[in-house]
Symmetry: C2
Subunit: 228 residues, 2 copies
C-alpha cells in the first residue's frame, strides 16, 4: 500500500509539513523519487513523487472523490474527563462522522475544550482509517446556537426525560442529520422544550442508561449503519 | 433512585461483599433499616433492607426479568495496548452485549489477558447502565474453539480480504449471534477459509479501515440497534 500523507492545500506541487516530512524521511526512509499519496481531507487524492530530500513533491495525478451523503454531525456535551471526549472523537472520526461539535449546555461539566488536540486526533483517525474526509472539529458551541446553525437539518435529541420518543432504528440517516447528546445528568427540561420547539425529534437510545460518550458512539453507529 | 448493589448469590438474606459494603456504609452512609436494591447480573432484582451495620440484608421482594433476546457475543482479538481492550469491554457492556470472548488468532498481539480486570469493568458498566445482566467475560479462546463452541449459532466474520460479503445492515440480530473481530493485520487466509467452511458469514463493516476495537463497537451497535 502506498504511504499516504495529509496536505490540506493540495496543489500541483508543494511540501509536506514538518510532522509529515519527518514521518516520510526518518520513519519510512523515503527519498527523492519515492512515490507517495496525498489527501487533503476534503475528498482530494493525489499520486505524487518526492522531488528532493526536504519532502517537496510534484503531483503526478489527482482525483476528487464525492463525499458520502447524507452527512452526520454529532454535537456532544464534553465530559469532565477529557480522555472520554478524546476517545469518542477518535472513534467517531474512524466511523465516518463528518463533524463534531462540543456542546455547551446548562449542565456541561467543562467550559473549555482544547480543539487543537481534538483536531490532531481526527487527523490521526483519518490516516488510520484511510478515509478521504477529515472530521471537522467545531468550537465549543451553546445549544441554542447549534439549533440555530442547523435549523435546516434533521436534528435528533437523545434525552432521558419521560416524553414520546422515536426509537433510533426508526430514524434512518436518509437526510443530513445532527445528533445531540447531553451531559451526565441530561439536558434540562427547558433545553428539551427549546429543542423540541425548534423541530428537533426526541429519540430513544434503548432501555439502558448510557454514558455520554457511549450514547454518541452507539447513536452514530446505528445511524451510519442504516445510511441509504 | 434507590441505590443498587450487586450480589451474584441473591437469596432471601445475605451480606454485601467487601467493596459493596464499603460503598454502602462509607460512601452512601447507609445503615440499619436503609432500603436498597440488589441485582444478581442474571435478571434477578430484589428490594432489601439492611439488617445491621455490617451490610447484611433481608430481601423484602424479588423479581426475575427475562433476558433480552436474541443475544450477542463479541469475540475480539485483544490489541497490544490493553487500554483499548478495556475501553471496548466497558462500551460493549454498557450497550448490552451478552458475552465478550478474547480471541486468540495467528496474529493476535497478546497471548494473555487479565480477565479479572475485564470482569471488574463489566461489573462497573452493569451498575453504570443500571442493566440487570452482567456481560460474561470468557477466557482467551482460540478461533477454532470458538467456531466449535458456537457451531449452532449465527457466526459473523468481519474480515478485510477480497471475497463476497454481506453488508452488516443486511444481517439483523434476529437470532443469537457471534461477531468475530480479528487482530490488526486481519485474520489469515487460512483462518478465513476455516471460519467460512464452518458456516460463518463474511460481513462488510463499510468502506473504512477500522481499528480492532472500533470494528467491535461499530458492529455491535449496528446489530443491537437493529434487534427485533
Amino acid at each position: 500500500m502506498m504511504p499516504r500523507f495529509f496536505d490540506p492545500a493540495l496543489g500541483a506541487s508543494g511540501g509536506l509539513d514538518e510532522d509529515e516530512a519527518r514521518h516520510a524521511l526518518k520513519v519510512l526512509r523515503l527519498g527523492t523519487g519515492s512515490e507517495i499519496e496525498l489527501c487533503d481531507g476534503r475528498g482530494g487524492l493525489a499520486r505524487a513523487v518526492l522531488a528532493d530530500a526536504q519532502a517537496n513533491f510534484s503531483v503526478l495525478q489527482s482525483e476528487q472523490h464525492p463525499r458520502i451523503t447524507p452527512g452526520l454531525t454529532v454535537a456532544m456535551a464534553p465530559t469532565k474527563q477529557m480522555d472520554r471526549v478524546e476517545w469518542a472523537v477518535e472513534k467517531l472520526a474512524e466511523m465516518g462522522v463528518d463533524r463534531f461539535v462540543p456542546l455547551l449546555t446548562t449542565r456541561t461539566e467543562r467550559g473549555a475544550v482544547r480543539t487543537d488536540r481534538l483536531e490532531r486526533i481526527a487527523l490521526s483517525a483519518l490516516k488510520q482509517s484511510r478515509s478521504l474526509f477529515l472530521m471537522e472539529i467545531a468550537p465549543l458551541t451553546p445549544l441554542n446556537a447549534v439549533l440555530e446553525q442547523f435549523s435546516k437539518t434533521q436534528i435528533l435529541l437523545a434525552h432521558c426525560a419521560e416524553a414520546p420518543k422515536t426509537p433510533l432504528s426508526d430514524v434512518p440517516l436518509s437526510t443530513d442529520t445532527v445528533l445531540l447528546i447531553g451531559p451526565e445528568g441530561d439536558f434540562t427540561p427547558e433545553e428539551i422544550a427549546l429543542a423540541l420547539d425548534r423541530q428537533a425529534t426526541g429519540i430513544n437510545l434503548g432501555p439502558r442508561r448510557l454514558r455520554t460518550e457511549t450514547a454518541a458512539l452507539y447513536g452514530s453507529a446505528v445511524l451510519l449503519g442504516s445510511r441509504r
